[in-house]
């Protein structure tokens, strides 16, 4: 179905609710004295929107607002993911000391706007809409990154992010303009028709794709569009780093899949996607994937700052996720979706522990984790170990299952080289993950290292995340079904 503006509103509740919440928070910010309550309002809004989204999940789907955005399980899936990220990060922020100092109202409002942007990224079926939503996310992210007042690193990170993002998105829009020229439209469906039967210039198209990849790639953080992330992750407030690392990453994946599969490829009868012959973007992404995971891991080896280390590990994981893309079939895509969920859980968990430790010690370097298991409660250390080993991909943890599906997809298509590279990488990654574990368990605390305490909220969240990591490692049938179900694009 192809709905106009008014009719579309019936399927627009999640976005509407979020928007409403944003406005509400801004208004309340003026009247309320207890700023901490604003966080709760934002949380409530998110939960409401979450509920609305779940209501829509599974409906037949269709084009909204004159084919500007689309409603299908795929978009709803990513909306859910970004909502989860937002909720968890808001929750996390309440316990974080560094965020505690900033202006709660604006903080929550901008975070939500960013989430809203991700909604649109997930659902846009028009290159212009894609650009706008991506910019919405970017701009809000710049602000959030630079949110810490009088903090040089934060501001510097924001500046770098801004410039890098500006150039990347600029390149992207320039590439889009070429697509527009060749297809005569920015609407995905039209582009698809135009390209697949028309004879567009392959080289031009390829270049356009690469330009566009610059825009998508810096959101997903894959090489060579990754340079900004270590600095930004290190400089930004930890909850925001967490948000960027999972949220915008996921949204980027969404927009990437939406563009490269329904828009410019055709689904064959055998369930494999066929890309536009002569425009070898899969080959390009294959190399990118291998380089990304390798580079990310190698760089992470010697990191001393845990946030920066997690930034590099994030790059490596982006590489793993891309594996699912290059096999050009639905198993691959499904593996990607699965991995995104798992990655969301375990990475947020890891960042949560970073927040807890930072609250206690005010530091983020590995030394501040020395003998964490023996400083007061052992729970943060144990959970951190779970998250890190899950990131390494050891059973029976969720991370293993995620990697398992990716490998499975790759091996099924007999990309053995890619598989071996990925395997070697996961062994290398053990080096630095285990290094943190070692510091937490095998080293013993100096008298100087203070006790580590955590708020009840943090404890609950930690327990939730770690138990999910374990649960999805042992019984992941439902999650698979969910991702499988979410892999439906609305294409006429």
């Amino acid at each position: 179905m192809d709905l106009g503006n008014i009719a579309s509103l019936d399927f627009f509740y999640p976005e509407a609710i979020l928007t409403g919440t944003i406005l509400l928070v801004v208004l309340l910010d003026l009247v309320l004295t207890n700023k901490r309550a604003l966080g709760l309002v934002a949380l409530a809004g998110c939960l409401l929107s979450l509920w609305a989204t779940l209501q829509l999940y599974g409906t037949s789907g269709g084009w909204l607002f004159h084919r500007m955005i689309v409603l299908d399980n795929f978009s709803l899936f990513f909306k859910l993911v970004s909502l989860f990220a937002a909720i968890l990060v808001l929750w996390m922020s309440r316990g974080s000391r560094e965020v505690g100092e900033v202006h709660q109202g604006e903080y929550s409002a901008i975070l939500l706007s960013s989430t809203l942007g991700m909604f649109f990224m997930a659902s846009s079926t028009n290159l212009l809409m894609a650009y706008l939503s991506l910019e919405l996310v970017s701009l809000t992210s710049y602000i959030l990154t630079g949110f810490l007042p009088h903090n040089r690193r934060s501001s510097e990170a924001a500046l770098k992010y801004l410039i890098y993002g500006g150039v990347a998105s600029g390149t992207m829009i320039y590439g889009m303009s070429w697509i527009f020229g060749m297809a005569g439209s920015l609407d995905y469906a039209r582009i698809n028709q135009a390209l697949l039967q028309g004879e567009a210039n392959h080289l031009g198209l390829f270049i356009a794709f690469v330009f566009i990849l610059a825009g998508f790639g810096y959101k997903i953080v894959f090489v060579p569009f990754h340079m900004w992330s270590p600095d930004v992750y290190q400089g930004a407030p930890t909850p925001i780093t967490a948000f960027l690392s999972v949220g915008s990453n996921a949204a980027g994946v969404a927009i990437l899949i939406r563009f490269f599969f329904p828009a410019v490829s055709r689904l064959g009868d055998d369930g494999n996607w066929m890309f536009l012959s002569g425009v070898e973007w899969p080959h390009f992404l294959l190399m990118v994937s291998m380089v990304t995971m390798t580079l990310g891991n190698l760089c992470a080896l010697n990191q001393q700052n845990v946030k920066r280390l997690l930034a590099y590990s994030g790059i490596a994981h982006a590489g793993y996720i891309l594996m699912g893309l290059v096999v050009l079939n639905n198993e691959g895509l499904q593996a990607m979706l699965f991995y995104i969920v798992v990655y969301l859980i375990m990475n947020l968990g890891a960042f949560l522990v970073v927040v807890i430790v930072a609250n206690a010690t005010g530091k983020e370097d590995i030394e501040s984790y020395r003998g964490l298991a023996w400083r007061g409660s052992a729970i943060p250390a144990v959970c951190m170990a779970i998250f890190l080993f899950s990131l390494t991909g050891l059973p029976p943890l969720a991370g293993f299952v995620g990697k398992f599906f990716l490998f499975a997809a790759v091996i099924k298509q007999q990309f053995y080289l890619l598989a071996v590279v990925a395997v070697i990488n996961s062994v290398i990654s053990l080096y630095y993950y285990a290094r943190i574990v070692k510091t937490m368990f095998l080293d013993f605390p100096q008298p100087s290292d203070g006790q580590v305490k955590m708020t009840a909220e943090a404890a609950v969240l930690l327990g939730l995340l770690s138990s999910m990591t374990l649960l999805f490692g042992i019984y992941w049938g439902p999650l698979v079904a969910f991702t499988n179900h979410s892999l439906s694009f609305f294409v006429k």
Binding site: T171, H202, A214
Partner: protein
């Protein structure tokens, strides 16, 4: 083949000593402390005596049967059965093993009794008897086993006990080293033995009759004729492997080196294990498998020549030794050589005969020397003895009889058995006059060094210091009684195996069902007689020489020791430096290999697999070979390579935003180039 009668008491012959061993091993210490040594002795000796009686029963049991049906068996349970391999725990007694069990339990029993007196002062009295019993068990197992694998258990079991008893006084490393040497050298032999078993089993298996049981091997042995492996006849190779085992156990060239050191153990042990029984296991094994060896003429030649060579070599060494027990040790090696000579000329009966007689007089000699050492308060150097005949009459007389026997004085046991061997060496189809001649030469030397010992120990002036002389005393009855019995045996044991010219050879007839009829000697009784006289003459000459040098003092020993610039003397006295050579070649060689292995682990493999190899320290000896810094340098290089790679990439992360943007541009350009260059 029809299965012989099941005779349930055979197992007890073997198991009784084991019970004794178990009892004393587990409770002995307490018993000794709480109740007293007499109880330990009781539980040690009684089982052996009982199994001796059972052995007699078995013997007469056999006697009652027709010669060709003479075997009893006792199948206890199925031990291993996998694929075509079926091994039972089963004992059997035929004329051959009957002789052996009688010797083992009989002489063993005597030595047990002797030990009561000899070991009386020892703290670990109980441990001694536990092992002595265990040994008896193992030895009986060895001789009554009905298959090779079970025999191998006894084979290694006796080795273990010998190891334990040689190193009995473990506080002194000299003893423990001797024990290790014995065990390891024997292991080399066992290595051959086990390979022999494998070869026989699989070769028979190819014929569809895979088995390790003696009587079945005997039945199917003919099938092995003509089979080959590595271009050698299977039978030849198998028998050679087995013979390697025999050389280890029975101290033949090249594996004889452990026996002299084995004298570190208590003297009764030397008597029982290293003279009477264990060391004869090899001979027994060959006799047991005579049908195989007879099929392999090559092996027989090897056996014969090794035997005679050992006999001579050991004799020459014995000539100059001064330690009372070492002389006996070398004479044992030499006598074993004679047994192998006999076996080598397919005169298995003669070998077993000599085995038995030797058991008597050599046990007698050892126990006698033990009694001497006992009296001398532990002194073993003959140069410090002399004139003991007065203070130790019993010991003296029994010792003399035994010397006469071993020297081959007519009408003693040694005379008949050794003469039998020499005659066979000359007359048997496998024999030759050379073997005979060398044998006779050895006999002469035997006479010489044995009488040398006799004179040095019992005649002339006592050269020991006063302190020792005052305490000289005859040993208690419990020790002298066994001596007497053995001495009697040293005379009488010979009469059951008279040479052809004197009458029927009962012994040969008895063994006939097992070893086959003694083949027709080429050459008449007259020839046998002449040879006999000749060899006796040579022995007499040996005696006379010893008499002149060590009794009459008419000739100075230096007169001979200085021959050829003393070279011969030094060679003999230092045992031809064989030990040193072995030590250098084998022991050092192995240790060197070992260190190389460790080095490979530390500096090749770890070097390759893990970066932190730098933490592994250098072993001391490497310092000489390799420069510390070079190695560490390389190791660290490799160590950091992975991380270095990481650093290289990270250097790009300059923090300068412009440089980041350059990367984008570069990437886009590369992508386009690749596209143009490769994908279109």
């Amino acid at each position: 083949m029809e299965h012989p009668i099941q005779t349930d008491y055979l197992r007890w012959i073997v198991l009784l000593p084991l019970l004794g061993a178990g009892w004393n091993g587990l409770l002995g210490a307490q018993l000794q402390k709480r109740v007293g040594k007499w109880l330990v002795s009781l539980f040690a000796c009684a089982p052996v005596v009982f199994s001796f009686l059972l052995s007699l029963a078995a013997f007469f049991g056999l006697l009652a049967l027709k010669p060709e049906e003479r075997f009893l068996t006792d199948r206890v349970y199925a031990w291993l059965s996998l694929g075509s391999l079926h091994v039972d725990v089963a004992f059997w007694v035929d004329p051959l093993s009957a002789v052996m069990i009688l010797v083992v339990t009989g002489i063993g029993g005597l030595i047990h009794i002797y030990s009561i007196g000899y070991m009386h002062e020892d703290r670990s009295y109980w441990r001694y008897f536990a092992f002595l019993n265990l040994f008896t068990f193992a030895m009986l197992l060895l001789v009554t086993a009905d298959n090779l694998l079970l025999m191998f258990i006894g084979w290694e079991g006796v080795g273990l006990c010998s190891y334990a008893l040689i190193g009995f006084w473990y506080q002194d490393h000299v003893n423990t080293r001797a024990g290790n040497k014995a065990f390891i050298v024997n292991r080399v032999g066992d290595f051959g033995f086990i390979l022999g078993i494998f070869l026989i089993f699989w070769s028979l298996d190819q014929q569809g009759h895979g088995t390790v049981a003696f009587r079945e091997i005997a039945t199917f042995a003919s099938l092995l004729q003509g089979q080959e492996i590595w271009g050698i006849g299977v039978v030849t190779l198998a028998t050679l492997f087995l013979f390697l085992g025999a050389t280890g156990k029975s101290a033949q060239i090249p594996l004889y080196v452990w026996l002299p050191d084995a004298m570190q153990g208590p003297t009764p042990v030397s008597a029982l294990i290293h003279a009477a029984t264990m060391v004869t296991a090899g001979v027994y094994m060959i006799a047991r498998l005579n049908f195989l060896f007879s099929m392999a003429p090559v092996t027989l030649e090897v056996v014969a020549s090794v035997g005679v060579a050992t006999a001579l070599l050991a004799a020459t060494i014995a000539l100059t030794q001064t330690d009372i027990k070492r002389v006996l040790a070398y004479s044992t090696i030499s006598q074993l050589g004679y047994m192998f000579l006999a076996a080598g000329v397919a005169a298995y009966g003669a070998a077993i005969f000599h085995l038995m007689t030797h058991a008597f007089f050599k046990a007698c000699l050892f126990l006698g020397s033990g009694s001497v050492i006992h009296a001398m308060g532990g002194e073993q150097d003959m140069r410090k003895m002399g004139g003991l005949s007065r203070s130790l009459p019993w010991t003296f007389w029994t010792f003399t009889i035994a010397v006469l026997a071993i020297a081959g004085t007519p009408l003693t046991a040694g005379f008949f058995s050794k003469d039998e061997i020499l005659w066979q060496a000359f007359s048997s189809p496998h024999g030759s006059s050379w073997l005979w001649l060398l044998g006779v030469a050895g006999a002469g030397m035997t006479a010489f060094y044995m009488f040398r010992q006799l004179f040095l120990v019992f005649f002339g002036e006592c050269r020991a210091d006063h302190h020792v002389q005052e305490h000289l005393h005859e040993s208690p009855k419990v020790m002298t009684l066994p001596l007497v019995v053995l001495a009697v045996g040293s005379i009488a044991a010979g009469w059951i195996g008279l040479p052809g010219i004197f009458g029927p050879n009962l012994f040969a007839q008895w063994l006939e069902p097992v070893l086959g009829a003694a083949h027709e000697a080429h050459g008449s009784g007259a020839a046998e007689g002449t040879l006999m006289v000749f060899s006796v003459g040579v022995a007499a000459f040996g005696f006379y020489l010893a008499y002149l040098i060590y009794y009459r003092r008419a000739l100075a020993p230096e007169h001979f020791s200085s021959l050829a610039g003393g070279l011969l003397y030094r060679l003999s006295y230092n045992k031809y430096y064989i030990d040193e050579i072995y030590q250098f070649v084998f022991i050092r060689g192995t240790l060197l290999l070992a260190r190389i292995g460790v080095w490979i682990d530390q500096y090749i493999i770890d070097f390759i697999v893990d970066g932190s190899a730098r933490t592994t320290a250098l072993v001391s000896w490497v310092n000489g070979l390799f420069d510390n810094y070079v190695i560490d340098g390389i190791v660290n290089q490799l160590a950091d390579s992975t991380f270095a790679a990481g650093d290289k990439f990270r250097k790009v992360q300059t923090g300068n935003i412009n440089s980041y943007l350059y990367v984008i541009l570069g990437a886009v350009i590369v992508a386009i180039i690749v596209k143009l260059r490769y994908w279109s």
